[in-house]
């Protein structure tokens, strides 16, 4: 087993620890810091340091070491927190992140930045406490260290395991020879192996080490199960060589790299507190256990379950033809299978769902930094952090959301003086909220700033050459900011206002199958609302039949369906047909014409008009029959084929055949290009009805 195998685990864990650290730093109350939080920050730094030491990331180890020392002073109340100190801490955290990235990419971290941050930290230690932080502390793990560290940076928790080295007996139970050698070697890294002997199933190793029993267990659990290892202190009589070589502190690394070790369930000899279990439990925010799985594995499971569902419905179809009395058990079994399969599908789909906290947790830092830069006081409120959303969507929503938050801070929320003058509290309020609404998730960015300025928007739009009129409704005016190249910022800042953005935001969100709306009131603020489907993998569809072919319409786009009567149909300009629905005239698009389906019903009054809405347009889609509503698994056509006009994706039906999912907005475009092509060739076909409207009888 190679230690590099654990690199990825370490990187991921360290990243998470840094994330926690930042969160705690941001939440810190400067006047009355919560001891628990300070501890958590300290532990995060400590764990990273340990891991970095194990894997030989010296720069990272040294930086965290210096950082940890200062953190230790703060948590013991010897260093009073100030805003600039927290700023430095945050900066350090960023630096650690950079270093981590460098190691992850197999590079050496930026030496200059490293020197700078070390100096800053040492300076801080000197100025604030008059204590010189020991510079040369992070000696290689195995090298003996004459004195216990002047700073109490060997964790206090491990004190129970002995100061400067204690004697432990590690029992390996039912461990294969191959693994055993490895483990003994590993133990050698942690301290000095005094003796080893075999006792039946047990293999006993006496060890002189400064590491705590828990730490040793944690290391061992990399390779073997927790119940295969027992650690206990040796009685003094067995101790012979005295304090020969206490290793500095290679104890913590494993706990950093694998905090999931169930320390509480492992048999314990030393009454030491598990150093790692606590920060982890906090980090997970109530989640007790979790595992990391690559996304493509999950996707594979989802695919397989999709297959299972299809097979199940195929069986179901066959079984439904059987005599229910003669094959009672079979029919019962089928319904049970159906239920199980659906449950399984639901459960599997939920694996992909992650809480919005994953997205929202990025914003406190952003808001803090930006507000400071813009000299604004802003309080960030997040609501609905536990609302779940498909992982692939959460990743894609981050950029648009960041843009909206920046916009709100830059253009929305006013400076404290202006706010006071307007009779509002000096501190602005930015709310990020998420909630479920039907099959959608609603994400809102709400600020209590000045709101959009209608006149300014209109003036700007005219300057940009957009066609606008004063009679436009507010909603239409707000939509202007999504036009490409539109920005009302007086001057271009590096925060926002380059005029590239809102149109990109809109495009991104539409690309995810969602849409954006803006609500704004002068003086009261602006709300940007993003509506997204919960997942892209499953779609609520309505299956329709045209000729012999079956298509799926996204149910979200379907408003209603009706059978048109002759009186409701009007012809216009030759071959355009309009359908009057209540007081609206909707263009009619026949699916069989657009998609060249043969043997479809051509008589309009025999067909069914499905009223659909896509990209703000409403029209009537003419189909032969409605078959029913069902959830379908969305399959990408472009994986092996290409983009098909009028079609967004495909799915697999119960009988194993493929059905195309229609793209409502694209159908409209396709219909137009087809009509134009037909006009160009002057070949009227099918339904060009004379005025007044009269049916063309199918021959």
């Amino acid at each position: 087993m190679d230690i590099t195998d654990f690199y990825d685990t370490f990187f991921e864990e360290a990243e998470e620890l840094l994330g926690d650290m930042e969160r705690h730093l941001l939440e810190l109350d400067l006047d009355d810091p919560d001891a628990e939080q300070l501890n958590a920050i300290f532990r995060a730094a400590h764990s990273i340091k340990g891991g970095a030491g194990t894997f030989g990331f010296d720069v990272l180890q040294h930086t965290t070491h210096l950082f940890e020392n200062i953190l230790d002073h703060t948590r013991r109340g010897e260093l009073a927190l100030r805003r600039d100190i927290v700023d430095t801490f945050l900066e350090t955290k960023d630096m650690l992140h950079d270093q981590l990235d460098a190691y992850r990419n197999g590079q050496q971290p930026d030496a200059e930045a490293y020197a700078r941050i070390c100096q800053t930290l040492q300076q801080m230690a000197l100025e604030e406490m008059g204590v010189a932080v020991d510079e040369g502390a992070p000696a290689p793990a195995a090298k003996p260290q004459p004195d216990p560290d002047p700073e109490p940076e060997a964790q206090p928790e491990s004190a129970a395991a002995g100061d400067g080295g204690s004697h432990l007996e590690v029992a390996l139970i039912k461990v294969a020879d191959k693994d055993r050698e490895l483990l003994v070697e590993e133990l050698g890294q942690l301290g000095e192996v005094l003796s080893q002997r075999s006792e039946g199933e047990r293999y006993l190793v006496a060890l002189d080490t400064s590491a705590s029993a828990d730490d040793i267990e944690a290391v061992m659990c990399f390779i073997i199960d927790a119940d295969q290892v027992e650690v206990r202190s040796l009685p003094a009589a067995v101790q012979d060589s005295g304090d020969s070589a206490p290793a500095s502190e290679p104890a913590a690394p494993p706990s950093a790299a694998e905090p999931a070790v169930p320390a509480s369930t492992a048999p314990k000899a030393a009454p030491a507190k598990a150093p790692s279990s606590k920060p982890k439990a906090k980090a997970a925010g109530g989640e007790s256990t979790s595992i990391r799985v690559p996304v493509d594995k999950v996707d594979q499971i989802i695919n397989l379950v999709g297959e299972l569902i299809i097979t199940q419905s195929m069986l179901d179809q066959t079984a439904s033809e059987l005599d229910g009395v003669a094959h009672g058990a079979m029919v019962n079994g089928m319904s049970l299978l159906q239920r199980n399969a659906r449950d399984l599908q639901e459960a599997v789909m939920s694996i992909r769902m992650v809480p919005m906290d994953y997205v929202f947790s990025r914003f406190p830092r952003l808001v803090r930094d930006l507000a400071a830069k813009l000299d604004k006081d802003v309080e960030l409120v997040t609501e609905g952090k536990s609302t779940e959303l498909d992982k692939s969507l959460t990743e894609r929503i981050i950029d648009p959301l960041t843009h909206l938050v920046r916009n709100s801070l830059d253009h929305g929320i006013e400076t404290p003086d202006k706010r006071e003058a307007a009779g509002k509290p000096r501190t602005g309020r930015l709310t990020l909220s998420a909630q479920h609404q039907g099959g959608n998730i609603l994400i809102e960015v709400i600020d209590d700033g000045a709101g959009l300025n209608r006149d300014k928007l209109l003036t700007k739009a005219r300057e940009s050459g957009l066609s606008v009129s004063d009679s436009m409704s507010d909603d239409e005016v707000w939509q202007l900011i999504f036009a490409p190249g539109f920005s009302t910022a007086q001057e271009v800042s590096d925060v926002s206002g380059r005029g590239v953005g809102m149109d990109v935001v809109k495009r991104n969100i539409q690309g995810m199958g969602g849409h954006v709306e803006i609500l704004s009131r002068p003086g009261e603020g602006t709300t940007t609302r993003i509506v997204l489907p919960l997942t892209l993998a499953i779609l609520d569809g309505m299956s329709i039949k045209v000729g012999e072919e079956i298509f799926i319409l996204p149910l979200g786009a379907v408003l209603e369906s009706l059978q048109p009567t002759e009186e409701e149909l009007y012809a216009m300009a030759g071959d355009d047909i309009l359908l009057k629905v209540r007081d609206e005239y909707l263009p009619v698009i026949a699916v069989h014409e657009v998609l060249d389906v043969e043997n479809a019903r051509t008589k309009l009054t025999d067909s069914i008009a499905v009223i659909v809405q896509g990209e703000g347009r409403r029209y009537a889609l003419l189909v032969d029959d409605l078959i029913g509503q069902q959830q379908v698994v969305v399959k990408n056509l472009e994986t092996n084929y290409r983009k098909v006009p009028g079609v967004s994706a495909a799915t697999i039906l119960g009988d194993g055949s493929v059905a195309l999912i229609l793209d409502i907005a694209d159908m409209h475009r396709l219909s137009r290009t087809k009509k134009e092509a037909r006009h160009a060739s002057r070949l009227p076909s099918g339904v060009n009805a004379p005025v007044p409207f009269k049916e063309v009888e199918p021959s």
């Binding site: 098909v644 697999i652 194993g656």
Partner: protein
């Protein structure tokens, strides 16, 4: 026929020979590199795709993967295009993609030594020699060796979006 060929195959199977899957289109014999072939299956359950070239028969479900089906007989302008029990689909892997090609039948797998592979003459109109890796000569038979990867990713096959590239 097959047993003869197998004997010949064994003899010819030296280090440099390549194996080809031989299939027929009408009276003609073609062959593709066997390493590109994923599987062979019957022609069934193909969903038509509107506004696609006529040789693209549509898409089918291959164990949960949507695979486009191309009829090479239509593409190569063969006279009779019929779908029957003998009609098979050769599923090939082209780069990252999976594509099914409809052929009249699959006959066998054979090894060709470099000497047996002759360069293709440059005169084809329907099937440009760009898409051929050569002609396989086997006593009285001639195999048209199709470079299936080049053919299927070509612009004229309209299987791949070329706009993005």
């Amino acid at each position: 026929m097959t047993s003869n060929l197998n004997a010949a195959n064994v003899a010819a199977a030296d280090a440099h020979s390549r194996e080809f899957l031989v299939f027929s289109l009408g009276e003609e014999e073609y062959a593709v590199d066997i390493l590109k072939v994923q599987e062979i299956r019957g022609y069934e359950n193909v969903t038509r795709i509107a506004n696609a070239p006529d040789f693209i028969k549509g898409v089918t479900n291959l164990r949960g993967v949507i695979v486009p089906i191309v009829d090479l007989r239509i593409k190569f302008h063969l006279d009779s295009v019929e779908y029957g029990g003998q009609t098979v689909v050769i599923v090939v892997n082209v780069g990252e993609r999976v594509v099914g090609i409809v052929v009249d039948g699959v006959s066998d797998v054979m090894s060709l030594t470099p000497e047996q592979i002759k360069p293709a003459p440059e005169f084809g109109v329907t099937l440009s020699s760009d898409y051929l890796s050569g002609l396989g000569s086997l006593e009285d038979r001639m195999l048209v060796l199709v470079d299936i990867e080049k053919l299927l990713t070509s612009e004229e096959m309209a299987l791949v979006d070329h706009v993005a590239e």
